[in-house]
Amino acid sequence: MLIIISIAALGGLTLLLATMLIVANKKLHVEEDPRIDIVEDMLPHANCGACGFPGCRPFAESLVNGGSLPGKCTVSSEEGRVEIAQFLGVDVGAAEKQVARLACAGGTNVARNRAQYQGLQTCQAASLVSGGGKDCFWGCLGLADCEVVCDFDAITMNGFSIPVVNEDKCTACGDCVEVCPKDLFSIQPESNRLWVACKNLDAGDEILEGCQVGCTACARCEMDAPGNLITMKNNLPVIDYSQNHNTQVPIQRCPTGAIVWLDKKKGVIKGEKSKKIIRKGERRIATT
């Protein structure tokens, strides 16, 4: 008898709750464009925010509403973007590949520390303690906040505590730009190969004491560059990428190698006149 009562009670409860769920599902159903789900499925699900939306779902909504074009998604492959464009019957939109670039080359082999920082081993914490102890106030602190924040494993620290961006893996999501307390990263079109790898606003040879690859604001690149491709602003060369910048001429006479050519295959190319740096060969000491 007891068994029957319990079965009946539980069964009744199940039925009641199931009915409530069904009613709720029907009553509270929200009409949604079914294409949103499909488009969202085509997106990479990285939720990186590079498109300017908080995640893939809002971006999919915007795509379906015609608010943006598939090209805005830097993470998906070329084919993926074309697929979405065809599905929605729209243009792919601008899809020039963009990557994160670092405006500093002052690794432990070339740059000096003014003081020994102790404490939380993150750049954000160190930068609040007297700037982090690096002689160059603007330079990379090398504590790898960007490596940690990168969801795509596109950033690795090299042996001299300088982050190196793997351009194939980089999706230009902008996380490293946001996390760097010294604002050294920026998102650039991949075709921008002429690059100023320094942010030191000081001028003169004194800065070489702190970092051998810093820009001394000698302005040789400004003189050598065709037309007004390069202008000096705040003791740093500024490249006007709207002009034809496919030239290696400006890097040739740079005495320190602060302005470089980022070759897709050969990596960083420095000018012939730039001082050869004697690598100390010291490896990065594990920071504890």
Binding site: R114, A115, L120, T122, V129, S130, G131
Partner: protein
């Protein structure tokens, strides 16, 4: 018996009792540091917009002459601390670690270095706004360390009323004695300064808050209050961080400043005693803020001292005058041990906000082993704004900044009491500083977006 008596003195809730280490310099008279050959005056020594430079390279300047004017309301004037020539205007290392545009002046070796324009300044017939402008152009900032422009706090916003002026003579940071010495040696200037501030604010009463580890200052100021003034000296229990504005107001008046609001919202204005002495001095004989009293102390310095130092004097000259650093010095701080800013290099100038120079040796600067949080609640007991640092620390570790907001991280005053008491040596206050900086950045971005 004595400790029982001191318990009955006023104070705020929570807080910590670090040793005060003030014996090194407590009884040393203020001495004047000789003028250095070259002084560096950063155009940004205060919170707010950098001052606008008024001189060119090669200009001759007189001691006390204005060399930069305020660039906006939250900005101040800067003056030449020596008679000499402007050698350069360039980026120089600033004690905050930044590079800041600075005016470099070389001393004229033949000048007597007297203040060029000595005269008592008229104040009784000036309006509050005129007086505020004089203080702004006089270059006054809070001399306690934060270097917030003094005149900004004196400008009472519409609809608010400043009934009380609290003079901050607490000096709760261990080691430092500069305010203590100023109160002992310049009490007349302090009372003149109070008179002027009371006139500006229209306040009815003033209090001078002093901790009871300075009994001589309490006695002297109590004795010297002019009979026509309505105010009193309040002896406070010695406790850190009593010198923080909010804590001092709670200790003296038992009022709490609402979260996110300013002291003026509870009808109070707090000013540092050294600042007030400086203002008194300016109205007595016209000299703007071109020098200040600094305590040079700590186990790492050979001859600790209280020195009157021209703003912009190189740190190395000051240390040389005090017999130099000991061999085992490991760290040099601007300010006290609880909130002071570590210096990465000795190539920096003394600023208006430099209350002390503390030299610590290898013995004090050791790397402490970090243990996991055992939730012993020492930090909860210490936090003067009643936060839960243990919980906040855990949230910061997982980068849950939204969660930290919910636990009121923005109310943290960064006094460091939690880190001080933590038996597990967790860098709590450093985590909060980083989180607060990030959150502020985020908020600024959100504001920009909505604008």
């Amino acid at each position: 018996m004595l400790s029982f008596l001191s318990k009955t003195l006023k104070t705020f809730r929570h807080g910590i009792h670090p040793g005060d280490y003030k014996d090194l310099t407590r009884d040393l008279d203020i001495a004047r540091l000789p003028f250095s050959d070259e002084l560096t005056i950063p155009l940004s020594q205060h919170l707010g917009a950098p001052s606008r430079c008024l001189v060119k390279v090669g200009d001759k300047v007189n001691r006390g002459q204005i060399i930069a004017e305020p660039a906006g309301f939250v900005s101040i004037g800067q003056h030449a601390p020596v008679t000499g020539t402007v050698k350069a205007i360039e980026m120089k290392h600033h004690p905050s670690g930044k590079m800041v545009e600075s005016v470099i002046i070389t001393k004229d070796p033949f000048s007597p270095q007297t203040f060029y324009n000595e005269h008592a300044m008229e104040w009784e017939n000036l309006s509050p706004d005129e007086l505020i402008s004089l203080i702004q152009h006089g270059g006054f900032v809070g001399l306690g360390g934060a270097a917030f422009p003094t005149h900004v706090k004196l400008k009472t916003p519409e609809g608010k009323n400043a009934r009380f002026l609290i003079v901050n003579g607490v000096e709760c940071e261990p080691y430092l004695t500069s305010d203590h010495r100023v109160m002992l040696e310049q009490s007349a200037d302090i009372f003149l300064g109070i008179r002027i501030l009371l006139k500006i604010l229209g306040a009815e009463k003033f209090y001078i808050g002093i901790e009871n580890n300075k009994p001589d200052a309490i006695a002297l100021l109590t004795k010297n209050i002019p009979s026509d003034m309505n105010g009193e000296v309040v002896a406070l229990q010695t406790k850190y961080p009593q010198g923080a504005e909010k804590m001092l107001i709670e200790a003296v008046l038992k009022r709490e400043v609402p979260s996110g609001k300013l002291p003026i919202d509870v009808e109070v204005v707090v000013q540092n005693s050294g600042t007030i002495a400086g203002i008194g001095m300016m109205f007595r004989f016209g000299q703007p803020l071109i020098e200040r009293v600094v305590t040079i102390t700590g186990p790492g310095i050979n001859n600790p001292a209280n020195l009157l130092i021209p703003i912009g004097t190189p740190l190395t000259d000051v240390l040389d005058y005090c017999g130099g650093l000991k061999e085992n010095t490991r760290q040099v701080l601007f300010g006290g041990p609880m909130m002071g800013a570590p210096q990465s290099d000795l190539d920096v100038p003394i600023l208006k906000g430099t209350s002390g120079i503390l030299c610590l040796t290898d013995e004090e600067v050791t790397i402490k082993e970090e243990f996991p949080c055992i939730r012993c609640l020492r930090c909860v007991d210490a936090c003067p704004v009643y936060l839960n640092p243990s919980r906040l620390g855990a949230l910061a570790k997982t980068r849950d900044y939204e969660g930290m907001l919910e636990y009121h991280v923005m109310d943290c005053v960064e006094c460091g009491s939690c880190s001080y008491v933590c038996p597990s040596n967790i860098p709590l206050v450093q985590r909060f500083r980083v989180s607060k900086a990030l959150l502020r950045e985020k908020q600024a971005k959100a504001v920009k977006k909505s604008a």
